[in-house]
């Protein structure tokens, strides 16, 4: 999992003017820690981190996922099809 793009961070702060970078960073840190847990052996730790993160989101930015989805949809450039550059040379028919 990579860092939250600044466009998405800005969208969260626009939706919640009192939201601080520290709270966003804490949410991201909990999410990152959760994603680095072994899903096979660390279910308890995953549940603990999810619980803490859920409470933080509910308290500070209840529309967190919705805002991120909308912001990402806006910034997600349509990936241009890197169409292969093709050069065609026709051959003259015999005769």
């Amino acid at each position: 999992m990579e860092t939250l793009p600044h466009e998405l961070r800005a969208a969260l702060k626009a939706a919640y003017p009192n939201l601080t970078d520290a709270i966003i960073d804490r949410t991201e840190a909990l999410l990152s820690a959760r994603m680095l847990c072994d899903p096979e052996t660390e279910q308890d730790e995953i549940a603990r981190l999810d619980r803490e993160r859920r409470e933080l989101i509910r308290k500070e930015m209840p529309r967190y996922a919705e805002i991120l989805q909308a912001a990402r949809a806006r910034m997600e450039e349509s990936v241009p099809a890197e169409r292969a550059k093709v050069r065609i040379t026709l051959k003259k028919p015999p005769g």
């Binding site: 899903p39 991120l68 990402r72 065609i88 051959k91």
Partner: protein
């Protein structure tokens, strides 16, 4: 003994005799034969059968042969010539297409020559041992073509191929890797189904957009093999790596087929890593790393799971020490490392390599962690350590790996450690660009220049070497 070298134009059986016509313009066509006689002993008959099979194969493929024959024009030896390039798999309009070779120059183009036209195509990716096309252009005529690679100063041998209209293959080898049992393998898989937060299974929309899956897949390979970070291509190592693709549009979304799951209260899509091995086995495939290519409007953020290697006692491994404690680079994964990759990733991005950094590490013998936060953990991390207090100085030596001291990064990539952080990182290879596992987009230069730190690079190099040489 005379020799005729060229393509087999005609081949037929007349009684116990195989007659072949070999064309080698501008010389006249030469009819030669193999006679199966009742007096021939078993080894002789076997040898003649092999020669006849070679003639038939050469006739079908269009590959040139060299036939040596006696004064009666009876063949005594058949040799199929070697090519200096090797097309990988069938040529199908719209499907991936790749050609292997040696010392392929970076300015190469792929040339398809047919009776009616010559079609030259710029590859989407070039490495010295392989060129990749995201999709074989439909402008190339169906049927027999001769393909070659051509650059300003070099042209490969021409290789006859048959171009088909489709459909594209379900499972395809993009590059075969080292010719050995279980070469290190990276799989790209279109995700058949998504497990939702509610626990339902829904079809992944990526299955309706194969063209975009192809582009995302090549973006992954491009990220791993062509950017500033040379971990996988040092000493042309990537020649050893097998790349495969699976796009199976026939599958329904269910517990067995879903390879990705939504993570609640987030926009993260996570790999269902416990399903990967069985999924790959259906296509007679195994992999060390799997990129699960998906599409979602709600959960479009990538993530990874690390590898879980088999215990050394099961399949072997190479021991290493980290700060005096012994660990192991396992040879084979019990559960492959995996990363989800949104089909909307750009053409040039480091996201696949960042997630590879997590996926290729090992839950039990060293995890490669994100460096953009101050998370602490009790699990064994290769690239992150913690001070007791944020006011404590950062130790000059980060860690001792296999007896070698690796320095710390005192300034965190030039981004600076926040004053309340206790975590710190190893020294970078290129201090002017942020660490690939950190907020690598936060530097002054292009994010494509970001690399790993020296310690993680050395550790991964040994880990990959252990797996390459298994």
């Amino acid at each position: 003994m005379a020799t005729s070298t060229g393509t087999v134009q005609l081949i037929s059986w007349i009684g116990d005799t195989v007659v072949a016509t070999i064309a080698a313009p501008p010389l006249a066509d030469r009819a030669v034969f193999i006679a199966f006689r009742s007096v021939d002993r078993e080894p002789t008959l076997h040898c003649k059968a092999v020669m006849a099979n070679l003639l038939v194969s050469a006739f079908i493929s269009g590959y040139p042969i060299e036939a040596r024959y006696n004064s009666n024009w009876e063949i005594e030896q058949v040799t199929v010539g070697a090519f200096d390039i090797s097309p990988v798999g069938p040529a199908i309009h719209g499907d991936f297409y790749s050609i292997g070779g040696v010392d392929i120059p970076p300015d190469v183009e792929i040339v398809f020559d047919s009776d009616t036209m010559t079609v030259a195509v710029d590859p989407d990716m070039v490495r010295p041992h392989c060129v990749f096309l995201t999709a074989l252009p439909s402008e190339i005529p169906l049927g027999r073509n001769v393909v070659s690679l051509r650059s300003a100063n070099w042209t490969s041998n021409p290789v006859p191929i048959d171009v088909n209209a489709g459909p594209p293959q379900t499972a395809r080898t993009l590059y075969s890797g080292w010719p050995k049992h279980r070469p290190y393998t990276i799989a790209l898989a279109a995700n058949p189904g998504i497990e939702t937060i509610e626990g339902d299974f829904v079809i992944d929309p990526v299955m309706a957009d194969r063209a975009r899956y192809h582009r995302a897949s090549v973006s992954c390979v491009r990220s791993l093999l062509t950017m500033a970070e040379d971990l996988l291509r040092q000493n042309d190592w990537d020649r050893q790596i097998r790349f495969i693709s699976i796009f199976d549009a026939t599958l329904s979304a269910n517990e067995d087929n879903a390879l990705a799951q939504e993570v609640a209260d987030s926009t993260i899509m996570a790999p269902r890593n416990h399903r990967l091995e069985a999924f790959l086995a259906r296509y007679d495939a195994q992999a060390d790393i799997v990129f699960v290519v998906f599409r979602s409007d709600t959960h479009n953020r990538e993530s990874a799971t690390a590898t879980t290697d088999y215990a050394t006692s099961t399949t072997g491994g190479t021991a290493f020490t980290y700060d005096g404690v012994e660990h192991v680079h396992g040879y084979y994964p019990r559960t492959p490392g995996s990363a989800t990759m949104s089909v909307t990733i750009g053409n040039r991005t480091m996201t696949p390599f960042h997630e590879f950094g997590h996926a290729a590490s090992d839950y039990n013998n060293g995890r490669v962690r994100d460096l953009y936060d101050d998370n602490t953990t009790s699990s064994f991390a290769i690239n992150k350590k913690w001070r007791a207090q944020s006011s404590d100085p950062i130790p000059a030596i980060f860690a001792t790996y296999n007896g070698v001291d690796f320095p710390s990064d005192p300034t965190r990539d030039g981004l600076g450690y926040p004053p309340d952080w206790v975590s710190y990182h190893p020294e970078l290879i290129t201090p002017e660009n942020p660490n690939l596992m950190d907020n690598y987009r936060g530097g002054q230069n292009s994010s494509l220049l970001s690399r790993l730190d020296r310690l993680t690079y050395a550790w991964f190099t040994d880990r990959l070497r252990a797996k390459f040489n298994r």
